[in-house]
Point group: C2
Chain length 149, copies 2
DNA sequence: CACCAACGTTGGCATTGCCAACGTTAGCGA
DNA sequence: TCGCTAACGTTGGCAATGCCAACGTTGGTG
C-alpha cells in the first residue's frame, strides 16, 4: 500500500503509525533472519541466555515477553539445532535449565549483525540522532505500560 | 511481561521496541473500540469514506492498506450495521460503490473520540511536543518504505 | 500434612496479514 | 471487431502471532 494516500485521520494516529511500522519492521527482520534459517523468537532467547546466563524456561519467557507455551516450542527447536542445551534442574525438579552452547553463541554473534543490518534498512531515512530519539521515545512509552501493568 | 527486564540487545532494537508498542497500541485501541462494538478495520474504512467520499472496495483497500478479501468482509459487516451502503457501480460493472450513511458518519464521529482517548492512554508519558516528534519520525520511516515499495 | 503456587507441556483459539483462484467486466492493441 | 490483459469482488485457505486453559509434577508454606 501507499501509506501517504491513507486517510489523514489514520496518518495522524500514533497507534496506526506504530502498527504500520511494526509490520514493516517484522517483515524486514524476519526476511533478514530467514537467510540464517532463524526466526525472531530464536534471536530473543539466544540473546537472553547470553546476557543473563543459564535460565529456566519460565524466566526466559518473562524476560522476552513470550508465553510459556511458546518458549517450550522455541526451546525444543533451538535444542534440535544444538544452539542451546535443555537439562532438568537438579535443585528444582520442576524446572529445566537452558544454557547456550558454543555453537549457539557463535550463531548469536552472526545474528547480531543480521539484525543490525535490518535496523539500518528500517531506519534508513533517519539520522543517528533521530534514531536515538525514536528509541528513547519508544522506550519511555513501552516502559510506562509495563510499569502500570 | 516487564519490558525493562528484557535483554539489552532487544531493548536497544528499534524493531523490537516498535513491535512491543504495537502490541500495546493494538490492545488499547481494540479495547476502547470494543466498547462501541467496533473493530479497528471499521474505523479505518469509515474514515476513508468520510475523507475521500464514495469509493470502490479496491480503492478503500489501497488507501487503508487492507487486502481486497479483508475489505469484502469488512464492507459486508459495516453494511449490515447500516453504517455504509454498497451498490454496484452503473458505470463500471466490476465495481461496488461504497458510501457512508448518516448513521455511519455519526458513528465515525463517536469513534473519533474513542480512538483519541486510546491515543492519550498510549502516549501518556510523552509531552505534546514529544508526541508530535514521535509521529513525525514514524511517518518518515513509514513513508520511506512505501516509497521504495 | 494439606494446601497453594510455580513449572513444563499439550492443545487449542482468535486475530492478522497475506495469497491463490474463480468468474465477471473493461479496456487496449492488433 | 476480436483477443488479450488487467482489474474487480468474492471465496477459501494459510502461517505466524499472541494468548489461554488444563494437566500432572514438584516446591514451599501454613
Amino acid at each position: 500500500m501507499d501509506t501517504r494516500s491513507a486517510p489523514g485521520r489514520l496518518r495522524s494516529l500514533t497507534s496506526w503509525l506504530i502498527n504500520q511500522n511494526a509490520i514493516t519492521a517484522r517483515n524486514l527482520v524476519a526476511a533478514h533472519l530467514a537467510g540464517a534459517a532463524t526466526r525472531r523468537y530464536h534471536y530473543s532467547m539466544l540473546a537472553a541466555l547470553d546476557e543473563f546466563g543459564p535460565a529456566s524456561q519460565a524466566d526466559l519467557g518473562r524476560r522476552c515477553g513470550l508465553d510459556r507455551s511458546d518458549v517450550t516450542a522455541c526451546v525444543t527447536d533451538l535444542a534440535e539445532r544444538e544452539w542451546i542445551e535443555r537439562a532438568p534442574d537438579p535443585v528444582d525438579k520442576r524446572r529445566n535449565i537452558v544454557r547456550l552452547t558454543k555453537a549457539g553463541l557463535k550463531q548469536l554473534r552472526a545474528l547480531d549483525r543480521v539484525v543490525a543490518d535490518a535496523q539500518d534498512e528500517l531506519l534508513e531515512p533517519l539520522s543517528a540522532a533521530e534514531r536515538a530519539q525514536l528509541n528513547e521515545l519508544l522506550t519511555r512509552v513501552a516502559d510506562h505500560h509495563t510499569a502500570t501493568a
